[in-house]
Point group: C2
Chain length 254, copies 2
């Protein structure tokens, strides 16, 4: 088991930001600037082609940290951010760009590439969680959430299916093809986002993935608009979802 | 045009509650206890067999008034609350009870009875809005919201379709049969609730009504569970929806 090594620390905008590594996986942990009070952890997964400090990640972290006092951590997915690309990564990315340029469906390529990345990333997330829970401000007893959209869902569904420490998850915007079987094993509360007019992921496919979760408590949020129009206010909703399920009050109305 | 007559006033739980009549239609207006500051109005519609001060109404009003400082008004639907039942009301209610007791589908009866009530209620809501806008704390310039679930949607869809003063609405949990055509005329932001496992309203029917709204901004919230399991946290979501669209801050995190 690898322990967590902090490699950099800074503070801004109400958050302490600490870069870390667990083995050769780089990540970042955001915590309330007010100090090291013990609080629940929310793990996040970034989108395809993005990285741990993409603005979508820092924005969501800020809402979770300053809105509820959570700790929030994200790691670079294999082949993303500060991690090297393998020949396989390069090959799939080239294939994806070729399909996009040719106007061909990107779904089959994204599904198979992200499924492969998830096989690698799930044990990395679990090792990261092991290491983060050794920190006194997180601890091993607290509930853990997971928030990941698009590729963050391609990794998140298999992760939540096998990781009992994760007790609530916000997911969405992903083809269901590689995820049905694992979604059927998930019983924790789920908030699931889709775009009603998604030009990439068919509406029926998104609805079918939501339907597959075995969770007794699950909520679908479907917003009008195309794939990239995913609205900012769903982040506020995710904060409130985690506040309900991880046992925190929303301290800062947004 | 009938003017508004206040008939009773009380105060509790952070709200001033004023009973009123507009002509022979009784209603209630809840406002912040802190006073008569001008603020947007949210009209509400109650459910079938309920009335203007049903706990669902007082609970939603409390969240809207204390969470955002809105004024909130609801009137008794025809044949409901303090209003007399006609022979037609008695006949349809008896038919509904008979169908329920026999285990027959209640949808066709609810759809036709609520459609008739909506024909009567829409002009009553518009006259009530005329009268409420004469109050200095509401005024004629401010945006107006509408919140109504189930029968409140059977009335709300035709109301929002013809009433340009209503600029945002939360609707849901209703058969679409009598509402499609009017929903297609609605362009204001909509939050639409349905129960994913509704044993009364088929899932596809609920999804089809959401799809029918012409609104560029619309959000579907589908929650796991049967018809009556409609979760309380959707009221908090409605408060935040109206805060976004009627231009108020959420002052009290819930």
């Amino acid at each position: 088991m690898h322990s967590l090594q902090f490699t950099a620390e800074s503070s801004s905008n109400g958050m302490i930001e600490r870069d870390f590594t667990v083995g050769d996986v780089p990540g970042v942990l955001w915590s309330p600037a007010s100090g090291a009070e013990r609080a629940p952890l929310v793990l996040m997964g970034h989108g395809g082609g993005a990285h741990k400090k993409h603005p979508a990640m820092t924005g969501r972290a800020h809402s979770l940290v300053t809105g509820c006092g959570f700790h929030v951590a994200v790691i670079d997915a294999p082949g993303h951010g500060d991690r090297p690309r393998t020949a396989y990564d390069e090959q799939e990315i080239a294939e994806l760009r070729r399909a996009q340029a040719a106007g061909e469906p990107e779904g089959p390529i994204v599904v198979r590439y992200n499924a492969r990345l998830a096989e690698l990333a799930v044990p990395e997330y679990r090792a990261t969680l092991d290491a983060l829970q050794e920190l006194p401000e997180i601890g091993a007893e607290g509930p853990v959430g997971y928030l990941g959209i698009a590729m963050g869902t391609a990794i998140g569904v298999p992760l939540v299916a096998v990781e009992p420490r994760i007790t609530a998850a916000v997911l969405g915007l992903m083809w269901p093809d590689a995820l049905f079987e694992k979604a059927r094993r998930i019983t924790v509360p789920i908030e699931f986002d889709l775009q009603w007019d998604d030009e990439r992921i068919p509406r029926e496919a998104g609805l079918a993935l939501f339907d597959a979760f075995a969770s007794k408590e699950k909520t679908l949020h479907a917003n009008a608009g195309e794939h990239v129009a995913f609205p900012r206010f769903e982040v506020d909703s995710a904060v409130r979802f985690f506040a309900r399920h991880l046992g925190r009050a929303v301290t800062s109305p947004a």
